[in-house]
């Protein structure tokens, strides 16, 4: 156990300290930072000339910056008169300017600009001046309070959201995330695992190690190390994602978007931590074991990608099958493959999301998967020494046959 832990620690540290791992983990963050930086700089450059100047021509102008900003319109009141605003518009410092005056109890608003106001801006301005016009109209009509009450009566409008469909869409998004995350991990780590083992196999270091411990214990340490690296990778993304959302929620430009989608994000995160995640974790373990076996069958590191083909084919079957059949949880193939190890990690989450699987069926599938993992771990662990210590290039099947017969 102690030696297995030494192997785990050594392999784990070596992998996470490697440039390939650092690049792999940091690349999405670098991309995110670059994209956010570009958006920020663009927003900063365009923030001035996106503003609309509000010119108060009269003392009691219905338009003021406070009310307009409340309507979500980006305005500035730093230009005191039309000529100053005109100059600013000419120099492209502002998008346009807005003036309002009242003539014969009618509010007249004028917008002069380099581009059209969009509908929400028009709506916002209308809301403000509409209320002001209404006050002027009531004053002029001389109606009493009762009549005023009758005239200002508003229709009732209620909105009811059906929770079930909302929850279902959250689950679908969660499943998609799980399937994509699993596909990404498997395609990335299957080749890394096979490559790592194949390169070790080509060297005599394994003979030295196996003179210190049993090959099966080394194999367990190796698999655990790969698994810990994957977990570290995911944990970094999880923490990174959480920091991003926290920062975004405090950023002026992104806060409204985060606020709008917060229930959806919360729902997805909640769903990610469910039994579907268990299938993904177990799926990653079983595919890692298979990749390790594939790596142990070739004699040169260059052949590792060739050896991982069985893993890749199974991954493709699971991934594309799950993508195309995610809307058909009762399909016969989905039902069958949700019990078959290697594909159950892709197909069972579909059935779980749609609620078409009973707790018993879920348990049976999990038990089959766990038992397969245990059997594979024990069997491959037993023949691992025989596979790794032979260095002749005899092909995959002959290599497997020899490995089995050596032990």
């Amino acid at each position: 156990m102690k030696k297995t832990f030494i192997v785990l620690k050594e392999n784990y540290l070596r992998q996470i300290k490697s440039w390939s791992f650092i690049t792999l983990v940091l690349a999405p963050f670098a991309f995110l930072i670059i994209m956010t930086g570009i958006s920020y700089l663009e927003a900063k450059n365009s923030s001035d000339n996106d503003q609309i100047a509000v010119i108060r021509q009269v003392k009691k102008s219905p338009l003021n910056s406070y009310e307009l900003k409340k309507q979500g319109i980006d305005v500035t009141s730093k230009y005191a008169n039309i000529s100053a605003a005109k100059k600013a518009l000419k120099k492209d410092k502002i998008r346009g300017y807005l003036t309002a005056k009242t003539e014969n109890s009618q509010v007249k608003v004028t917008y002069v600009g380099s581009s059209n106001l969009d509908n929400s801006e028009k709506q916002g301005i209308n809301n403000i001046v509409g209320k002001y016009q209404q006050i002027l109209n009531i004053r002029q009509s001389g109606i009493n309070n009762k009549q005023l009450k009758t005239l200002t009566r508003k229709p009732s409008f209620k909105q009811k959201i059906q929770n079930s469909s909302h929850a279902s869409s959250i689950k679908e998004i969660s499943t998609m995330i799980l399937i994509f995350v699993m596909y990404f991990i498997l395609t990335t780590y299957a080749s890394i695992t096979a490559q790592e083992i194949a390169s070790e196999k080509g060297s005599k270091i394994m003979e030295i190690i196996f003179s210190s411990m049993k090959a099966i214990r080394y194999f367990y340490g190796k698999i655990l190390a790969v698994f810990c690296v994957i977990i570290t990778h995911l944990a970094i993304y999880f923490v990174g994602g959480w920091i991003f959302f926290e920062v975004a929620a405090r950023t002026k430009s992104l806060a409204p978007i985060i606020k709008k989608y917060k229930p959806l994000i919360d729902g997805v995160i909640h769903n990610l931590v469910s039994s579907s995640l268990l299938y993904v974790i177990l799926g990653v373990i079983i595919y890692t074991i298979l990749s390790a076996l594939c790596g142990a069958l070739v004699s040169r590191a260059e052949d590792a990608s060739k050896a991982t083909q069985p893993t890749m084919v199974l991954t493709m079957v699971g991934f594309f099958g799950a993508l195309s059949l995610q809307q058909s949880p009762n399909n016969l193939f989905v039902r069958i493959f949700s019990y078959v190890p290697f594909t159950s990690s892709f197909f069972m989450p579909i059935r779980l999301v749609n609620g078409t699987v009973s707790p018993l069926e879920n348990t049976i599938s999990l038990v089959i998967l766990v038992v397969t993992i245990v059997v594979m771990l024990i069997y491959i662990g037993k023949i691992y020494g025989g596979l790794v210590l032979q260095t002749d290039d005899v092909g995959l099947f002959k290599s497997l046959k020899r490995g089995i017969s050596t032990r």
């Binding site: 030494i6 005599k204 030295i208 196996f210 210190s212 210590l389």
Partner: protein, 293 residues
């Protein structure tokens, strides 16, 4: 003591080892010699339990178990270390696997680096070291935990004469410490200068097995070294001489059919006169190897 009885191993239909027997007491060195493919590495792999075999391998009277692994120091035929690691990390990893504490490793490592005259620092990457120095680091990994059973598969290959001497002295120190040592080598001079006993493997069979002195003596004193002004053609004409090899100017090695003809040849060469060199000796290990392997 390591004791091997009736060790046999086949790969498919091919028999690689056949009824091999030997023992290595503590504080003794056994040399396993033989041509390439004779079964030397397979013997080592059997002792280390890398492969299945028939027969018995006993260490101090008991079959080797996992707990005995900590007492073994093994240097494989080809040198191989993890190139990305530093010297310190590499030795720590392999010595940790021998149940040695990191503290003890860091105390002993500089001593060993000094002893084997490794040119490099503890924090140097393995990849930055020369081949010879990498080989020394691998030897440190083999010996730092003071194993009781040391298995060295061709430890001298690729070393220059100075490093051969360093390694030879190190092996002798380990012997003095009380370790049972087995090693294989193609240079018979190394085997002859280090070993107490030898096993010569031929196609998986131990054709020679025993104390080095006894083995050499069993072939009789059939080598005659003589320094003479006589021509090589004249020496070849002498009775009972099978072959003549000129060792250096004027010094010849005569191989005779039986040691009993030594005095007769001496008489013929001297005719009662003074001769500078005449020595009758058993064959060297190289001669035995060439004849038997």
């Amino acid at each position: 003591m390591l004791k091997i009885d009736h060790l046999s191993k086949s790969f498919g239909a091919k028999k690689v080892l056949s009824d091999v027997n030997f023992k290595v007491p503590n504080g003794k060195i056994l040399g396993i010699i033989g041509k390439n493919g004779a079964g030397k590495t397979t013997t080592f792999h059997s002792i280390l339990n890398f492969i299945t075999f028939t027969g018995t391998i006993l260490w101090n009277g008991e079959p080797l178990t996992e707990k005995d692994y900590d007492q073994i120091g093994y240097l494989p035929e080809e040198r191989s270390l993890i190139q990305k690691l530093t010297v310190k990390e590499q030795v720590r990893y392999l010595a940790n696997l021998k149940n040695m504490s990191t503290k003890e490793i860091y105390q002993k490592l500089p001593v060993w680096m000094d002893k084997l005259k490794v040119k490099g620092n503890l924090n140097d990457k393995i990849s930055s070291l020369s081949k010879g120095n990498q080989q020394k680091i691998q030897l440190i990994c083999t010996l730092i935990h003071q194993p009781s059973l040391i298995i060295l598969d061709e430890p001298f290959s690729g070393l220059d004469p100075i490093n051969v001497d360093i390694l030879r002295n190190t092996i002798l120190e380990e012997k003095k410490r009380g370790a049972a040592i087995i090693f294989s080598d193609h240079d018979m001079n190394n085997v002859e200068s280090l070993c107490d006993s030898i096993v010569l493997l031929k196609d998986g069979h131990a054709v020679i097995n025993g104390n080095l002195h006894d083995v050499r003596s069993s072939f009789g004193n059939t080598n005659i070294f003589v320094e003479t002004k006589l021509a090589i053609s004249r020496l070849k004409e002498l009775p009972h001489v099978l072959s003549v090899i000129e060792e250096k100017d004027g010094l010849y090695k005569l191989i005779i059919s039986d040691e009993k003809y030594g005095p007769e040849i001496f008489d013929q060469l001297t005719h009662g006169q003074y001769i500078k060199v005449f020595a009758q000796q058993p064959p060297t290990l190289t001669d035995i190897f060439k004849k038997e392997a």
